[in-house]
């Protein structure tokens, strides 16, 4: 065991993992976090706590992760490279682990120009792959990035993201390989809608032996509306929404679009369960946490395994 986190145990035992996501509040309303957490409790193995997602300032991800721990859920502490240099990152990793956080997701971060402080100085002292490697050095070698010894090492289960849909497609599997070689234990992918392209990506990862070295959790975000699908297709860089998905949602009829979105997501989960090289699903029900119990039920991933 690298970390002994619940997520690691579930994956190591060979179960199909199911993780969720929670965005911290734009303020210090603890109740908002607790309320969202209740919908996820028992329905997921671990909950990603986003780090100033889309570059909007929110309650810090480690702080919201601690609230989740208090609520009896396991957080997956996201850290982006945009807002901290290597000193602050290492300090937060130590502090987070000291308080019982055992999973981390290492990300570059959306550019600050998308957020509410568009002209802030982006840090990017190190990039996401360098961050993965830094956490690994801290965990496995007991050293700071500088080489100095740590007193007490953070036993993190190290995660990273992968986007099979950003250009150039041919290079994406090599970038995944870089992340695996840098030391990531698990991958959560960008939201998948183009299943054909994802099948090809996983095949490449299988052929390169990457899916034996790291756990891959396929990213799923159920579409709530036709508008959301169109927005994601045209406005969100790196997300690919095939026209047939939009047509399918349009054909669902009035009042039934969200249900059709969930239905498609559940069909995806069914396919991922059978797909060689996929070890679980990361369910990103964005601002739709209260629907997770129903989604998990319909995706037939309940009850969640309990591994000692």
């Amino acid at each position: 065991m690298k970390s002994g986190s619940n997520l690691e145990k579930v994956l190591k035992a060979g179960h199909f993992a199911f993780t969720g996501e929670l965005g911290p509040p734009r303020g210090c309303d603890v109740e908002e976090v607790r309320e969202k957490a209740q919908h996820l409790k028992g329905n997921v193995d671990s909950v990603n706590i986003t780090d100033n997602q889309t570059a909007m300032v929110r309650m810090s991800s480690w702080a919201a992760s601690l609230i989740l721990l208090q609520e009896g859920l396991e957080p997956n502490f996201q850290m982006v490279c945009r807002d901290r240099n290597r000193l602050a990152m290492q300090a937060d990793i130590l502090g987070a682990y000291a308080h019982g956080i055992k999973n981390m997701l290492c990300l570059s971060g959306d550019h600050q120009m998308f957020g509410d402080h568009p002209l802030a100085k982006g840090v990017f002292d190190i990039d996401s792959i360098q961050l993965i490697n830094m956490v690994k050095i801290m965990r496995d070698e007991g050293k700071f990035l500088s080489g100095a010894d740590l007193h007490g090492t953070p036993k993190m289960f190290i995660g990273a993201a992968s986007n099979p849909f950003a250009d150039p497609f041919e290079w994406r599997v090599h970038r995944l390989a870089k992340k695996v070689n840098a030391g990531c234990d698990f991958i959560q992918t960008q939201c998948i809608y183009n299943m054909e392209k994802f099948r090809e990506f996983i095949k490449q990862a299988n052929d390169m032996g990457l899916t034996e070295k790291t756990y891959i959790l396929a990213g799923v975000t159920p579409m709530k509306s036709v508008g959301m699908a169109k927005y994601m297709k045209s406005k969100v860089p790196g997300i690919e929404v095939p026209d047939e998905i939009i047509k399918r949602l349009q054909g669902a009829g009035k009042g039934k679009v969200a249900d059709e979105g969930i239905k498609f997501a559940c069909e995806q989960v069914e396919e991922f369960k059978e797909m060689k090289g996929v070890h679980g699903v990361h369910m990103m029900a964005i601002e739709w946490e209260h629907m997770v119990p129903e989604i998990a039920e319909r995706a037939k991933v309940l009850p969640r395994p309990v591994v000692d």
């Binding site: 950003a166 250009d167 150039p168 290079w171």
Partner: protein, 226 residues
């Protein structure tokens, strides 16, 4: 070359509002080529100031002088006998020139007439694109001569990130993704293996003021007192 853009007129006007005799010093090299701070731009700015101050019933006496390079003692020398008559100086050189000028005349307030915006290439007259951030550790050999520090909005050394959008950067469709272009060019040259390995964290060498002394040269024993 170093490029700059003229500061907004209102900002310049506000900075010098209390001075009655102001010398505007242009620079004849980089900022002249990029149409920001050469002899012509000095004349244009002075005309604007003159007119605005007259309208404000706060006339000002203006001088104009353009030297070859404000980043060089040799050329600043020609100002030695002129500046004493002025209450303040506007420098239209880049940030280097402005500071070097101010160092030479420490008793006279010096104000910037331009905002220095980087080291850029001349795409066409009036059109300049940044290409270098002078990080001090050039990686262009690995990146097909496309700078990820300058051209990638996140300065990634292991790109491209997940925001690549049909070859564009996530920040704007008209901004190329540096790493997409790096991939494209390396592939064309059959050199993709050069970026297949992970690049470790950079040891930043640009976090303190840098002094460069070329091999075979040294600092004078005692810096020249002015």
């Amino acid at each position: 070359m170093i490029v700059a853009k003229r500061k907004p007129f209102e900002e310049i006007k506000e900075m010098i509002k209390d001075y009655k005799k102001v010398l505007n010093v242009g620079c004849g090299t980089c900022v002249a080529v990029c149409l920001a701070g050469g002899e012509k731009e000095v004349a244009v700015l002075n005309a604007e100031i003159d007119m605005a101050r007259k309208l404000d019933n706060n006339p000002v006496e203006l001088g104009a002088q353009t030297v070859e390079r404000q980043c060089d003692h040799e050329y600043l020398e020609e100002l030695d006998d002129i500046v004493g008559d002025y209450d303040a100086i506007i420098s239209m050189a880049c940030g280097v020139g402005i500071q070097f000028l101010a160092e030479r005349f420490p008793d006279i307030p010096v104000y910037p007439g331009v905002d220095t915006t980087g080291m850029s290439a001349n795409q066409a007259v009036g059109w300049y694109e940044e290409r270098c951030r002078s990080c001090g550790q050039c990686v262009l050999g690995m990146t097909a001569a496309i700078c990820p520090v300058t051209m990638c909005a996140k300065g990634l050394y292991n790109g491209p990130c997940g925001g690549t959008n049909q070859g564009s950067c996530e920040i704007a469709m008209d901004q190329d993704c540096a790493w997409f272009r790096i991939y494209e060019r390396l592939e064309r040259q059959g050199r993709l293996k050069e970026i297949i390995e992970y690049t470790p964290p950079v040891e930043w060498n640009d976090q303190v003021p840098r002094t460069l002394i070329q091999p075979g040269y040294k600092k004078p024993e005692k810096a020249k007192e002015s």
